[in-house]
């Protein structure tokens, strides 16, 4: 069972899972999973459909609670902490489905992301100066995700690729210390994928990045280390080069028959 600490993990890890499991009735979606991710590390989680990658994300973000084991985030135990408080600690995530606020404008979507972390969530009055600052930050985040030309448009009227950009802008705007992206490249065109890869490569080195991605070009270019999951467990962990060369990975993705 892989409990391989990352080589860079000399400092306090950003994220540490110890024997984490998540069970749905009789099914273990994630089973006895241990993982340690160093500050600033770029880690990709790979695995075939149903491997438990998204469940793992949900357990880390707090959308689901682990049924066994413990989750440590930024050095403190968050196993039973609600998702909203993990977000305020500096953890941001995107979802596989867009999960955006379709009735609000792009700017309002990003605005909510900033207010969610910075406070003033229940403020029932407008403060022009403070709101102006937040909106300025929202516009900057939109610019970084290259969606600033549609600030005033309702998200419900945007295309799938644009939804992906807005989702990314939401995550970036919160200025997280750790960022989890669930299949950011799915459904994107080749050009959009390249833009996304460039954006991820240009990300602030202090942000820890955790990435689920089926697109190997994106995943293996961005990631420094790769964790391969299958049936809720880690089966291989290593650098992209090691993963490319690994026979188990080939078998999993292509079927062992391809060797013959």
């Amino acid at each position: 069972m892989a409990a391989v600490p990352s080589p860079a993990a000399t400092a306090e890890p950003t994220l540490r899972l110890r024997g984490v499991g998540r069970r749905f009735g009789g099914l273990y979606a994630v089973r006895d999973m241990s993982l340690s991710i160093a500050p600033g590390e770029r880690r990709a989680i790979l695995g075939p459909n149903g491997a438990g990658k998204t469940t793992l994300f949900n357990v880390i973000s707090g959308d689901l609670l682990a049924t066994s084991g413990s989750v440590e985030l930024f050095g403190s135990d968050v196993t039973f902490m609600p998702a909203r408080r993990r977000a305020r600690l500096g953890l941001a995530r995107t979802y596989q489905q867009s999960r955006l606020f379709l009735g609000l404008s792009v700017e309002d979507n990003i605005y909510l992301s900033i207010v969610g972390v910075k406070g003033g969530r229940l403020r029932p009055v407008g403060l022009p100066k403070r709101d102006g600052e937040i909106r300025e930050r929202a516009r900057n985040a939109a610019r970084r995700a290259a969606i600033d030309h549609k600030l005033k448009e309702k998200v419900g009227s945007l295309s799938h690729g644009e939804h992906r950009q807005v989702g990314l802008a939401l995550a970036l705007a919160a200025e997280p210390r750790a960022l989890m992206l669930d299949e950011p490249a799915s459904g994107l065109s080749r050009g959009e994928r390249n833009l996304l890869t460039d954006l991820l490569l240009g990300l602030d080195r202090e942000i820890t990045l955790l990435l689920i991605e089926h697109d190997m070009d994106v995943a293996l270019r961005v990631a420094e280390r790769v964790t391969m999951m299958h049936e809720g467990r880690v089966i291989v962990e290593g650098t992209p080069a090691e993963i490319r060369a690994d026979q188990t990975v080939h078998d999993l993705y292509l079927g062992s028959g391809h060797r013959e």
């Binding site: 973000s61 707090g62 959308d63 609600p82 998702a83 909203r84 408080r85 977000a87 305020r88 941001a92 995530r93 979802y95 999960r99 955006l100 606020f101 379709l102 009735g103 609000l104 309002d108 979507n109 605005y111 909510l112 992301s113 207010v115 969610g116 972390v117 003033g120 969530r121 229940l122 403020r123 029932p124 009055v125 407008g126 709101d131 939401l170 919160a174």
Partner: protein
């Protein structure tokens, strides 16, 4: 071809003109027409008061994604609490004889607190389950006040209109005073809603409406947000309750029974669940029809208020799921030429509306995405 921006600004200008004209007309109404008329004393005052309760329902629905059936219960509770606190002597209930303003403040405060409690209980439910829980609140309130004789019992509390503050006076002899007060409170509630939905709290409420899961992972306490919104709507409904008690004089458990709960929902749906303005439009249509169309006979079915309002409700739901305000949006889209998604031919636009209605009747998908009101 006109741009979208032009369409929206032209629509906005038209709406402002229409609203301004209507406000001026309503402001001078009691001066121009006899202030003792049935319109001032009943139809319009009730429209303002019950419209506020409908606005609280539409606020929760349009901005919070919560269709509440407890708004009638809340305004009824406020009226009954007010009645208990303010009346004295031979009146039913506690007849504590408090000073009118103090009693109003206490009634509004207690009702808002009850709304916060209701909201906290319902805040983890959504959709049909939220609807059922709020319906339960309504039934509980109705049964409670019907059974507990200490607070008035089944026949309720009468004569509340004689214990009004000096400013309000006697509704029977000076109906214009309450008319203007209800008018002012309605405007304030409208402006309050328009203001609050642009504050962080209000934008976040719309976020909760669209994607509660994402809101949670952005750092928001979703049930708390729903609870506070419900409390705010309860506060608005309690204002409606005070105005109702002052104008009708009697508040009984029957005021908050199931039929009244349905009436308010009918008002909100006729006006339109997507826009706040619809609350007062729906209330006006409701009270005008209640007054004038009582004795019109429908062939075969006979005639009654319920038959007429039922047909109107049916027609509205089929033709325009967003009510009369939705119809207005359709008309302006046609008149000012926003053909985005529609067509430039009037008959084709009409055919689209009819075919949408037909699909809705058959239970199929409409050709254009409609609002949340359909999930009702």
């Amino acid at each position: 071809m006109r741009s979208l921006g032009t369409f929206q600004s032209r629509k906005q200008a038209t709406e402002r003109t229409a609203a301004g004209t209507m406000l001026v007309l309503l402001a001078i109404w009691p001066l121009v027409f006899s202030s003792n008329s049935y319109w001032v004393g009943y139809i319009l005052t009730q429209t303002f008061a019950v419209g506020i309760a409908a606005a609280s329902l539409i606020f929760l629905s349009a901005y919070g994604g919560m269709v509440s059936l407890a708004q009638v219960a809340l305004y009824g509770i406020c009226g009954l609490v007010l009645g208990n606190l303010v009346t004295s002597g031979q009146a039913k209930g506690l007849h504590l004889g408090w000073s009118p303003w103090l009693a109003v403040a206490a009634a509004v405060g207690i009702t808002t607190a009850i709304a916060l409690l209701f909201g906290a209980i319902a805040s983890r439910s959504a959709g049909i389950y939220f609807l059922m829980i709020t319906l339960t609140f309504g039934v509980i309130a109705n049964t409670f006040f019907g059974s507990v004789t200490t607070f008035g019992g089944f026949s309720g509390i009468a004569g509340i209109d004689t214990y009004t503050p000096g400013l309000v006076g006697n509704h029977v002899t000076q109906p214009a005073r309450l008319y203007y007060i209800a008018f002012t409170v309605a405007i304030i509630v409208y402006l309050l809603i328009r203001y609050i939905v642009r504050t962080p709290f209000g934008i976040a409420l719309q976020g909760v409406r669209d994607e509660p899961v994402r809101m949670r992972s952005l750092g928001y306490n979703v049930p708390l947000h729903r609870t506070l919104a419900f409390g705010l709507a309860g506060f608005m409904a309690s204002l409606a309750g005070v105005l109702y008690a002052w104008s009708i004089g009697v508040v009984a458990p029957g005021t908050l029974d199931l039929a009244s709960t349905v009436d308010l929902l009918v008002i909100a749906v006729i006006g339109g669940l997507a826009r706040i303005e619809g609350a007062w439009l729906g209330a006006f249509v409701f009270f005008a029809i209640q007054t004038y169309v009582r004795n019109v006979s429908v062939p075969v079915l006979g005639g009654s208020f319920n038959t007429i309002i039922g047909f109107i409700f049916l027609a509205i739901v089929i033709i325009s799921p967003n009510g009369l305000m939705g119809l207005w949006d359709m008309i302006t889209r046609y008149a000012f030429g926003d053909r985005g998604g529609g067509s430039s031919e009037p008959f084709r636009e009409l055919r689209r509306i009819v075919s949408d209605a037909w699909f809705r009747l058959k239970g199929g998908a409409p050709t254009r995405t409609q609002s949340r009101s359909e999930t009702l």
